[in-house]
Amino acid sequence: MAGQTVYDKVWSDHEVGVREDGESLLYIDLQLLHEVTSPQAFEGLALNHRPLWRTGANLATPDHNVPTERRSEGLAGIDDPVAHEQVVTLDANCKAYGVTQFDILDKRQGIVHVVGPEQGATMPGMTVVCGDSHTSTHGAFAALAQGIGTSEVEHVMATQCLAQRKAGNFAIETTGRLSEGVYAKDLVLAIIARLGTAGATAHTLEYRGEAVQALSMEGRMTLCNMAIEAGARAGMVAVDDTTLEYVHGRPFAPVGQMWDQAETYWRTLVSDDDAVFDRMERFDATALAPFVTWGTSPELGVPVDGAIPNPDREADPVKAESIRLALAYMGLSADQPITDIQLDRVFIGSCTNARIEDLRAVAQVVRGRKVAGRIKQALVVPGSGLVKAQAEAEGIADVLIEAGFDWRDAGCSMCLAMNPDKLGPGEHCASTSNRNFEGRQGHAGRTHLVSPAMAAAAAIAGHFVDVREWI
């Protein structure tokens, strides 16, 4: 028998059975819940008089539309009545079903994909789902983590299983190491620029090789977070010492003898030497420059020292047309150098880049500097209450506030602008989030995806700069 990939191993350890029609029933170890996609699912359970299959396999926190100011007021601090109702509903459902929740006033509240790993609730080899596409983040732990829709959320609540077909194996083979000032975010933007947003459809990515092994867990989470932006079902990284060191000692992690038992299993979660991948792409990290997206899809990115592409030089007419449409929406012109793009706002946050290392990288850039006068707002939204507390303890918050940044409470915030944090029409934003779709950060807003260090430097300069020159 041929060797197995990490994905093959986790899949086969969770396959309850294969149905006649070829679909598998996949057992789910952990479901993460938030206020926006869970209410109808909970209601569906209640209407059908079904219990939650396994209470302990669920963990909830409100994140998508919680405001990032007036947090101490709790629920009373949510002005939008629909958002308020959704958060109240999550509270009530968690109480009714006995689900552990880090509520709006809990220090551990935050973006689900930051909270799970931070608590050690995400462990190697698990299957994880959440009604949110960026659930792929948890794949950094060699977990099979997938975003699902509300009807599937209810299905998992009621049965602890998901019915699906297995995806293909796709290796992202990296060589070399990222240079100083270049981060996992730049690597993943470069990968998406090459693969395209549908490039990995029906596959699970495995990020491998030297550059990935050299990354911290937080960097690996950034890589896996955006696997979905390449169209992949999930993204994964094999287990190594870095993985185990990160998990060890976290609240949900096993201890003592059970840790040893778990470690023995977790160590097997690497792809076998003779594992077969259906597809493979190679990336050399050595010469990679910081990336900036200039268009309205995550694949429309170029190195910061590059220029915006010219549709007239694009041979494929469909691509040329999509470049033209993106340029029109973004208010940019062909051949314009990236460093000429003037910015109005900066957003540092989201499940892609709102962890402590991200904030450290930001502080390193802004220390002793000031946000440019043309920047209307430079927002920093930590990924969780614990990240916030940590940044305050390390003095990072002071550095940021001193420089003129807005220091907020944890949540998704301007990543999707469901809460009051939004771009105005036509405004350009350097954002550390993961989607630059039209209107994503506010009606007619213009998003440029970058690493936290690049966003920080852009806040100081008022336009994009090559952060490598600043470090």
């Binding site: 952990l30 109808q40 302990g56 462990m123 009807s151 009621a158 096993p254 038992q261």
Partner: protein, 214 residues
């Protein structure tokens, strides 16, 4: 999903073709955290004279006494009799939720829009296609003396209190799912033993998983 059971019920005639899902449940009611609470706003634009907003109660509203569902003689109807292309337009599943919550178990029409038709089966509403002539006769009966029918999915028949039984067609797989009350969750729950068996082994091997606590 609850299993579909044979019943005897009153027929309400909705004498319009191309009733779209926007008319069945207008868009301002979709901004909700619930799958319920739509029944009061079923056909909102026809049932009431004033414009409806989420959060109002029915007694704050101005009832349109001209609308057929508001007529005293059709109160408690469980079968909606409709015209061609019922449920066209937006794919919102809320349309089905609203019809069911209002109290309908069956919709009879000469034809249905595709998405609406399949949404019905996900939720346990039975849409039945009948030929124009039969539909026409039913409209006559329902609008004159009133019509009460027995609907039996098992035998695929509609039997009026007076008159002849009418047979109808339905896809056998869909029929089975409705009769057993099997939605996707129901189907998976039918494999309960397999899942329980799997869990024993799984949590035995991996007692550190959060679900091991139960």
């Amino acid at each position: 999903m609850r299993a579909f059971q044979a019943f005897t019920g009153l027929v309400a005639p909705l004498d319009r073709a191309n009733v779209d899902t926007d008319q069945i449940i207008p868009k301002q009611f979709l901004k909700s955290i619930k799958r319920t609470g739509f029944g009061d706003n079923l056909f909102d634009g026809w049932r009431y004279l004033d414009e409806g907003h989420p959060g109002q109660t029915a007694n704050e509203r101005q009832i349109n006494h001209e609308f057929v569902l508001n007529a005293p003689r059709y109160q408690g109807a469980r079968v909606l009799l409709a015209r061609d292309n019922f449920g066209c337009g937006s794919s919102r599943e809320h349309a089905v939720w609203a019809l069911m919550e209002y109290g309908f178990d069956v919709v009879l029409a000469p034809s249905f829009a595709d998405i609406f038709y399949s949404n019905c089966f996900k939720n346990g509403l039975l849409p039945i296609v009948l030929d124009e002539e039969t539909i026409e006769k039913m409209f006559d009966a329902a609008q004159s003396d009133g019509l009460v029918v027995s609907v039996d999915l098992e035998s695929q028949t509609i039997v009026p209190q007076e008159g002849e039984a009418v047979a109808f067609d339905i896809d056998p797989v869909r029929k089975r799912k409705l009769l057993l009350g099997l939605d996707d969750i129901g189907l998976t729950l039918a494999e309960r033993d397999r899942i329980v068996e799997f869990e024993k082994k799984h949590y035995g091997q991996m007692p550190w998983l959060p679900g091991a606590r139960g």
